[in-house]
């Protein structure tokens, strides 16, 4: 039997389409309504509410917490002082990515971390190895997490607490909503203005109700995971299990990827100036020095005319409505040689807002520069056809409101 999240009584009542999927063993709606597009546009036009409670959650504290995280996480934890959150990853000694996640330090010395897969034992082993005095607790079931995402997110949350207003992008704070203690971060997986809230499980439904009530005049819309995933491709955010897999359970290196291969070399900007002893450091440094990455992860924007053309020539309508796919699609060099394999697409969506099919792709470094042109294989009435696609800097969609100051907006 699948587990249910602390918000289940609410999400079950709202699940009009009656669809459920399993996420890390929990029941979650992929969509609530028949119209996925309506849920997607809640993220871009009004405000959406999403239950992400199935994530694994850890609380890390103790005198050596910082030293431990400096060792276990690949990105410098110094970038996550009290009141901040940080997108990070952790690697094995070969420099292959084990997981990504968001770490927060709300009060000094107490860290919170989300992860897609369990990592309690692994963290404890590392802590023991370096003799760190640190307490690592699995608090997965003690908290529910809600993501409140969209241009009206601040309008909604400010009715319940002042604490969110001063949060900068990736800020984190304690707060109270209707008397219930919560942690609020200015983070999200949509690339839009938004907040994520850690809520004690017993308070989950009251906080859900408070948010829905505050959002009622702002077209707040509960959304499922599919609309979220469409938005996250536009935001250029990778999904573990889709765009990459944990090195931990891979069989061969071909299934493992380094941070640079995932397009995350920006996480190591300061590496030449620091001496952080993090796991995987020497391999990652060597890879960067020798430019030894086998590929990197880039955005692909499909040429709209070409996409239209191949379907129109076959006499059918191009699939553009509610298209989101995690199936592998092959990418070829435009070298004059037929089917000259270059790499593949791991996520594909036809963006309703940007009106272009978009993809996240793995390409060799010589093809990975912005503007580089490749062929993407699509199926047209069950036959493979190539369409032109161009490497684009991600995120594809990056509105100013995502990181805008919300305090000034009100006084303006």
């Amino acid at each position: 039997m699948p587990l249910t999240t602390p918000f289940h009584p609410r999400i079950q009542a709202l699940n009009e389409a009656g669809l459920w999927k399993h996420w890390a063993g929990y029941l979650i709606p992929p969509q609530y309504q028949y119209s996925l597009t309506a849920e997607y546009y809640a993220i871009r036009n009004s405000v959406s509410l999403l239950d992400t409670s199935p994530l694994f959650k850890y609380r890390i504290s103790g005198p050596d917490a910082e030293r431990f995280l400096r060792r276990v996480l690949a990105r410098d934890i110094a970038g996550c002082p009290p009141g901040r959150a940080q997108y990070t990853c952790w690697c094995d000694e070969e420099g292959f990515v084990l997981q990504d996640g968001v770490v927060l330090q709300v009060r000094e010395g107490v860290y919170w971390l989300t992860a897609a897969e369990p990592t309690l034992r692994y963290f404890r082993v590392v802590a023991r190895q370096i003799g760190a005095e640190v307490e690592i607790e699995d608090v997965s079931k003690s908290y529910g997490i809600l993501a409140l995402q969209g241009p009206r997110a601040h309008e909604v949350i400010r009715q319940l607490t002042d604490a969110a207003t001063c949060l900068r992008y990736f800020g984190a704070t304690d707060a109270e909503i209707e008397g219930h203690p919560v942690i609020i971060t200015r983070t999200g997986y949509t690339g839009d203005l938004g907040y994520e809230l850690w809520i004690e499980s017993g308070d989950a439904c009251s906080v859900w109700d408070a948010l829905m009530e505050a959002g009622s005049g702002h077209n707040i819309t509960p959304i499922g995971t599919t609309a979220l995933k469409m938005a996250r491709v536009e935001a250029g955010l990778l999904l573990m299990g889709t765009d990459f897999h944990s090195a931990r359970f891979a069989w061969v290196d071909a299934q493992r990827e380094t941070p640079s291969e995932l397009g995350w070399s920006w996480m190591f900007k300061g590496i030449s100036q620091d001496d952080r002893p993090f796991i995987g450091r020497s391999a990652i440094e060597l890879e960067m020095q020798e430019r030894a990455s086998r590929w990197t992860t880039v955005g692909l924007a499909v040429d709209w005319h070409d996409y239209e053309r191949v379907y129109t020539e076959a006499g059918v309508v191009p699939p553009r409505h509610e298209i989101y796919s995690e199936s592998t699609m092959s990418v070829y060099r435009r070298s004059g040689v037929d089917w000259d394999y270059a790499g593949y697409v791991s996520s594909f969506t036809s963006s309703s807002l940007l009106r272009t099919p978009l993809a996240i792709a793995k390409l060799p470094l010589d093809l990975a520069g912005p503007g580089s042109e490749v062929d993407l294989e699509v199926n047209v009435i069950r036959r493979p056809q190539n369409v032109l696609a161009q490497v684009k800097q991600m995120p594809f969609f990056n509105p100013a409101r995502k990181s805008a100051d919300m305090g000034e907006e009100k006084s303006a």
């Binding site: 389409a17 309504q33 028949y34 119209s35 597009t37 309506a38 546009y41 871009r44 036009n45 009004s46 009206r152 009622s216 005049g217 702002h218 077209n219 709209w304 005319h305 239209e308 309508v317 191009p318 699939p319 553009r320 409505h321 509610e322 036809s350 309703s352 807002l353 940007l354 009106r355």
Partner: protein, 528 residues
């Protein structure tokens, strides 16, 4: 001539087609001036904050037919284009029954099957054949139409291409095209459906903005015309532009400025300046002279040919055609600011039912009764209303918890048999309100503000002759080869350097942008 300023191109009228056209010219590097008589751009596609916090789509109120090529060519997404999907379609009856359709084909089947399972199946067939037909027509919507009168070999070849295309259509698609050309909407629906409510949902597209009944043959093509659009590539689906249709023209205005174009407001044009059948500028109502060898009118055919130029300078057959061009507006708008969404008995508290079109007109007889009043020169006692409450999807339209309701009204004839539109204005508002009240008891108590837009207002405010929302009827003798006149359907005029790019040219009205786009293609081709 001593002129005040000189431009590469002057576009007259900043409706959406004037804007689209001006964007293409500016993008091509022409120093382009766009002139607008009013103090805001957008023409019929505007959003106005009539009451603080409430945004009214004064005239045009929904989107589907904007050509995707234009969106890409002009990079409109970067300038803020966002079309929200209409989620549901609501067709209430007067006896408690209703149809509520959404985006799931199976759920829609079962909803229609509550009334008739044969109709539920027929709806799938009808929707599919229309989608195929729309797809087949697309290449001809999206190109400069052939000239049926020209003796030029290239034009003759194009007419042959058109006949060849028609011959090669799939037989059932060609048959359906013939059906739409020759039959009324009601007749076509009689072949597909048995249930009145189902027919009613489809039939209203056949009369939108047109002086015809659902049993007149013109209603077939008017219906088909409204299906020529798409949403995310899905044929015949509709949406709302973020911030109303005025949001869309604001996007176009930003794109135009980004291409280096200049807009001048409060700048009505009184006449085209030309000599020896060659345009050289315009004269503004305030007497200002502006010079340009290229002037493009986005106004309707009556103003383009009979207003800005001396009809005596036109060939007789053209002047005659334009004088006979049918405008005969029959539509009005009544817009409301509401405390809450209306309440339908049995579906109380359901905002979602209003997230698309709400079609008030529950039987073929209802539409025919409405038409009888129109023929007699009266406002329909019980008009057909196409209602939209965009604020159920777009929170920018109204204060939290409040709503704006746009009601498109048929019929409200421009030429009234008795009285005039000043005296009939409130009767129009009251009639619409009473009609809504019959479907949604208690509606009157929700009203915070009411805005009435008569056909005469449409003419006076935005210059559409006789208030015709399409800049001329969408009847076969005024479409495609004949819009606005045979031989003059390729955006040129008898005056060199003077072009037309409004909805009175191919493919026609609605927010398509196509006339502006295709006219720009012609202009730029002619410049070489």
């Amino acid at each position: 001539m001593s002129s005040d300023e000189r431009y590469d191109a002057i576009v007259v009228g900043a409706g959406h087609n004037g804007l689209v056209h001006a964007c293409y010219l500016a993008k091509a590097g022409l120093n382009t001036l766009l002139l607008e008589r009013r103090d805001l751009v957008g023409g019929a596609a505007i959003t106005e904050e009539v009451v603080p916090g409430f945004k009214f789509t004064t005239f045009s109120y929904a989107m589907s037919l904007v050509r995707p090529e234009i969106v890409h060519d002009l990079d409109l997404v970067r300038h803020g284009m966002m079309v929200l999907p209409m989620v549901k379609t609501f067709q209430p009856g007067l006896n408690g029954e209703y149809l509520l359709l959404g985006s799931d084909a199976d759920a829609n089947y079962h909803e229609i099957a509550r009334h008739s399972s044969a109709d539920a199946e027929a709806a799938r067939d009808l929707d599919h054949i229309i989608a195929r037909l729309v797809r087949a027509l697309k290449p001809w919507v999206d190109r400069i139409p052939p000239n049926s009168l020209s003796k030029d070999p290239a034009d003759i070849a194009e007419m042959a291409e058109l006949r060849g295309w028609f011959r090669e259509l799939d037989e059932d698609v060609r048959g359906m095209l013939e059906t739409f050309r020759t039959k009324s909407a009601a007749e076509i629906l009689d072949e597909y459906f048995e249930n009145e409510l189902v027919k009613s949902l489809y039939v209203s597209s056949g009369i939108i903005g047109s002086r015809c009944s659902v049993r007149d043959r013109e209603s077939g093509l008017v219906w088909l015309f409204h299906k020529l659009g798409e949403y995310d590539g899905e044929p015949a689906h509709w949406g709302f532009h973020k911030g109303g249709n005025g949001g869309f023209t604001q996007v176009l205005a930003r794109a135009f400025e980004a291409f280096g174009g200049k807009v001048r407001l409060n700048a009505g044009v009184s006449e085209l300046l030309y000599e020896d059948a060659r345009a050289h500028g315009v004269k503004l109502e305030d007497g200002t002279l502006l010079e340009s060898d290229l002037v493009v009118s986005a106004l309707d055919p009556r103003q383009t040919f009979l207003g800005l130029v001396d009809p005596g300078d036109l060939p007789d057959d053209l002047a005659g055609r334009i004088e006979d061009f049918k405008f005969q507006g029959t539509a009005a708008k009544v817009n409301f600011a509401l405390k809450d969404v209306p309440s339908f008995p049995g579906l109380e508290g359901r905002e979602d039912i209003f997230t698309g079109f709400t079609n008030l007109g529950p039987s073929i007889d209802y539409y025919m009764d409405a038409w009888a009043d129109c023929e007699a020169g009266r406002i329909s006692a019980r008009p057909f209303l196409d209602c939209c409450i965009q604020s159920t999807l777009d929170p920018d339209m109204a204060p939290p918890g409040k709503h704006v309701m746009s009601c498109f009204v048929m019929y409200a004839p421009y030429h009234l048999a008795e009285g005039d539109w000043d005296s009939e204005r409130d009767r129009l508002g009251d009639t619409v309100q009473e009609t809504i009240e019959e479907f949604f008891p208690g509606f009157g108590e929700l009203i915070l503000h009411r805005e009435i837009v008569t056909p005469l207002d449409i003419e006076n405010l935005i210059g559409l002759s006789e208030g015709n929302i399409f800049a001329g009827e969408l009847f076969e003798d005024q479409l495609f080869l004949n819009r606005p006149a045979p031989g003059w359907n390729q955006y040129r005029t008898p005056i060199e350097g003077y072009y037309q790019c409004g909805s009175g040219t191919h493919p026609g009205g609605c927010v398509t942008g196509a006339p502006g786009w295709l006219a720009a293609r012609q202009v730029l081709k002619d410049r070489g």
